[in-house]
């Protein structure tokens, strides 16, 4: 019945249906009930780090404010310290001078940690892909990214959708055999 972690191709982890299927499949009764409790807690209280480099940060603020109300999804409390954050929303361009800072911020975050690349600049360099001498073409050259949100800047709704994708991804995790993420591939 269903699929196990080992039978799943690496590419399938990018696919939401496979992840949901994975969640439904069996396993150790004891561990899987702990899993579901842990994942329920984790996925509904993702605390982001206040990290905005440029324009996308404004849309991130708008997503947190009155109309769009981020807090409905539990991604509520913006932490100024990476030690208290679960997810880093890379909102904006990353240039070469910023790379060591970003890497250090990521390293300072406690596990489990997730990365959302928000906006074209963080995804691929965006409008600065050509002819710029200082822009990093995509934040995934520096830190592993879980969810990519395209747009320049993405609408707050797009950010909300991205967060929901991250929640689904978290719900597919297990403490006995953790989902192999991009993080593990890089390490």
């Amino acid at each position: 019945m269903g699929i196990g972690i080992k039978s799943m191709e690496y590419e399938d982890f990018g696919d939401n249906e496979s992840l949901e299927l994975l969640k439904k499949t069996g396993g150790n009764v004891f561990l899987s009930s702990i899993d579901s409790l842990l994942n329920w807690g984790r996925s509904n209280s993702i605390w982001p780090l206040t990290f905005a480099t440029s324009c996308c940060g404004i849309e991130m603020m708008a997503a947190g404010a009155s109309r769009h109300d981020f807090a409905r999804f539990g991604i509520e409390v913006y932490r100024a310290s990476p030690r208290q954050a679960d997810v880093i929303v890379v909102a904006g361009t990353i240039v070469h001078k910023m790379v060591p800072v970003l890497k250090r911020l990521y390293d300072q975050m406690p596990d489990p940690k997730y990365v959302i690349a928000m906006g074209a600049c963080a995804v691929s360099g965006g409008p600065f892909f050509y002819n710029s001498y200082s822009v990093v073409r995509g934040v995934d050259h520096v830190i592993p990214v879980d969810v990519y949100i395209p747009g320049c800047p993405p609408r707050p709704e797009a950010l909300l959708y991205g967060v929901m994708q991250l929640q689904r991804k978290i719900k597919g995790e297990s403490i006995s055999s953790p989902v192999e993420t991009d993080t593990d591939k890089l390490l």
């Binding site: 905005a52 440029s54 603020m61 708008a62 404010a65 109309r67 361009t93 800072v101």
Partner: protein, 375 residues
């Protein structure tokens, strides 16, 4: 005179106690690093370090056509994106000797002021949040969404719209534009007094901003500070008044000037400017002339060889665009004189001698947008 006003080069000493504020700090509104030297709680000196978001926009412009450059200027000062676009368009129009239709001038001016309103609203809520008033954040962004709705209906985007093109506008505004703008002005005229009730009169807020970060008129001139920050020090520097562009010569409005020069004065200037922006929009919105939304332009724009210069008043101060053209379809050199760059470096003068807790209030009152500094 300026030698006396601008302090000598800062000399670091071995026993200096230095802390870094930023690059990742919620109150620097981006990635700016202040190297702060402390003596106890008092700031001895402060050195801003920039370049954490330097994207090389000026160099990129040299490889882009003038239509493409518009999109890059959006991303400099993203809170006054429309005004930045207009500066580049005006340079091109002046060089090509194109007279834009009256309708374009009116619509551009209305959009400028809507953009200024949205920017000041965001500044207000961020300034309140920096000083610990979280409610301000929700109030400000609630009203800002109404402006963004108007933008979205006409341009299809909320923040960076690139609606100006050399010669006019990308397309005509939405038929609802006038109606919705008028509705917004009626709405916001009721809401703006709430801002004053919530924050301006708050005694905790006033204690934190009054008498903090004093900038004299001479210092503002010496450092090239412009915009609301300079007008808080009684320096009349509004480009809309000095060299009117668009439809600014057809409207009556006051340049808000304060004499105190402290953080609260800069706060009051911006609050006053919101009222003035609404006044300007009200004078123009009913009188938009009929006509084309763009002048006739060639698809490939080649500026005649020479140097061109234009300046506009963004929400933060004077943005000047300087183009050197060698007759090709791309500029030979493009230089932006951005307001935030000059406004930033007066920080040392404002903060030195004060307490470190006031640093956030001072940098908030200058309303810095970091990608505009680094470009």
């Amino acid at each position: 005179m300026s030698e006396e006003i601008i302090k000598d080069v800062i000399v670091r000493e071995n026993e200096d106690y230095i802390i870094n504020m930023g690059p990742q700090h919620p109150s620097t509104h981006g990635v700016l690093r202040f190297e702060v030297c402390l003596k106890g709680e008092t700031v001895k000196y402060l050195i801003p370090h920039i370049g954490y978001i330097h994207r090389g926009i000026e160099k990129m412009c040299e490889a882009d056509t003038y239509q493409q450059i518009i999109h890059l200027t959006d991303r400099m000062d993203y809170l006054s994106a429309h005004i930045n676009n207009e500066a580049v368009c005006m340079v091109v129009e002046e060089a090509m000797q194109v007279e834009v239709p009256e309708r374009v001038k009116y619509i551009r001016t209305i959009l400028d002021e809507l953009n200024r309103l949205a920017s000041h609203q965001l500044w207000w809520c961020a300034f309140g949040m920096d000083l610990g008033a979280l409610t301000a954040f929700f109030y400000g962004l609630r009203d800002r969404e109404h402006i963004l709705d108007i933008f979205e209906e006409s341009f299809g985007s909320r923040l960076l719209h690139s609606f100006n093109t050399p010669g006019g506008l990308m397309h005509d505004v939405h038929p609802n534009f006038q109606k919705r703008t008028k509705e917004f002005i009626t709405y916001f005229r009721k809401k703006l007094p709430e801002y004053d009730q919530l924050l301006t009169g708050n005694i905790i807020f006033q204690e934190r901003v009054k008498g903090v970060g004093y900038m004299s008129r001479e210092k503002a001139i010496a450092y090239g500070v412009t915009g609301p920050s300079a007008r808080g020090s009684n320096l009349a520097c509004d480009i809309r008044k000095i060299a009117p562009y668009g439809a600014y010569d057809k409207v009556q409005f006051n340049e808000i000037l304060m004499t105190e020069g402290d953080t609260f004065a800069r706060y009051q200037v911006r609050m006053g400017e919101m009222w003035e922006s609404m006044k300007i929009i009200e004078q123009l919105i009913d009188n938009i002339p009929e006509g084309d939304f763009t002048a006739k332009m060639k698809p490939i724009i080649k500026l005649p060889a020479g140097e061109y210069f234009k300046r506009v008043e963004t929400a933060r101060g004077e943005l000047a665009v300087y183009v050197v053209s060698d007759g090709n379809k791309t500029p030979y050199r493009m230089k932006f004189r951005s307001p935030n760059f000059s406004n930033l470096f007066v920080m040392n003068e404002l903060a030195a001698g004060g307490k470190i807790a006031d640093l956030v209030a001072i940098s908030g009152s200058l309303d810095l947008v970091i990608p505009d500094i680094d470009r």
